[in-house]
Symmetry: C2
Subunit: 204 residues, 2 copies
């Protein structure tokens, strides 16, 4: 028997994607669901909605509350947190690096390490030197990963992945989609999405 699958759509610039990335591993294991990490870019999707930056910047009251909510949530989860500057970070390099990394066994570790660099250590994930250092700390040779990240293959795969997210109705991050096309939006929907994936699988 194969485990049911849940797709985890995230953007490295997204604050609540950080929380989900750090939470999803043990929760998925407990739920007996196999998670696929699907990095994509929110930018083009926001642009299609008429937003030129994060809605948290466009709507200051909403933004202020998000930062405070994130502080509280990280404290509850015992996760370190530092507010990235600037926000949002340009997540293109991190997304490409992650796509290349996810072809390897250590791909999810690499995603978590990039999120930590950004949201726990306050480092800039658009800086190749930072990405190089993140990989080196994982005992991964950075050179071939960064070369792959900048290849046309990965660039096209990231574009295709972002288009797929949009086709599935994804409008924010994190989002979760199931084999039977349910879309769950937001870190708060991680547990219901895992439950759905598991229950839908049992019905087949």
């Amino acid at each position: 028997m194969t485990a049911p699958i849940l797709d985890f759509w995230f953007d490295f610039a997204s604050t609540y994607s950080y929380l989900s990335a750090m939470r999803i591993g043990p929760l998925a294991e407990k739920a007996e669901v196999r998670v696929r990490f699907r990095p994509f870019l929110l930018g083009p999707i926001f642009k299609a909605q008429g937003w030129v930056t994060s809605p948290f910047n466009l709507y200051p009251a909403k933004g202020r509350n998000m930062w405070r909510d994130l502080e509280r949530s990280c404290a509850d989860l015992k996760l370190p947190f530092r507010r990235p500057d600037p926000f949002p970070q340009n997540s293109l390099l991190a997304a490409r690096t992650a796509l290349a990394a996810l072809d390897q066994a250590w791909g999810e570790n690499c995603c978590r390490a990039l999120f930590r660099a950004e949201f726990a250590d306050g480092r800039r994930i658009d800086d190749p030197a930072v990405v190089t250092d993140v990989l080196a700390q994982l005992k991964i040779d950075p050179k071939p990963v960064l070369a792959a990240a900048q290849s046309d293959t990965i660039k096209m795969r990231l574009r295709a992945q972002t288009e797929e997210a949009q086709r599935l109705g994804v409008f924010g991050a994190p989002s979760f989609t199931t084999a039977d096309d349910e879309l769950f939006w937001g870190n708060d929907r991680l547990e219901p999405a895992l439950r759905w994936a598991k229950a839908a699988d049992k019905q087949n």
Copy 2:
């Protein structure tokens, strides 16, 4: 010893306010927190953000997901649900009625009955005949309530309450505020808000 207080800010047009209104009673009792029902109008607050209708109408992908999420959430909570038409409803009459009702012991019941009329029975809460019927079913004489709801006192109180919400940083509904000025936004934050109110109270 008096129980800590949590203010529950809601708009009758707001879908997730329905969920919180139906959930908050037993949860607050268990948490030993006293909840104050604070109806207000999102309209003026949305307008200040440049929105002329619900963001769920302005952003169709977000709106589609909200309706599906609400169906799933209501199923989980075993709450009846019918999508209001039109959406959003004009919530002015319901908010004024609720403010008048909340001066009485049956005020919270009246709020829940109005939410049920709208989101479970698909009735129009901007129709005085519907509000009259909702009150009558609670064995309340509708006439004096509706007269109070349309008084200048209540009109001004609703305006002041909406301004207070805005001053507190409220930008959506439901929201929850504590005595130490924490703002929690969304039905998903009801439990953390109750925990916060309780914990903050213990520290004093």
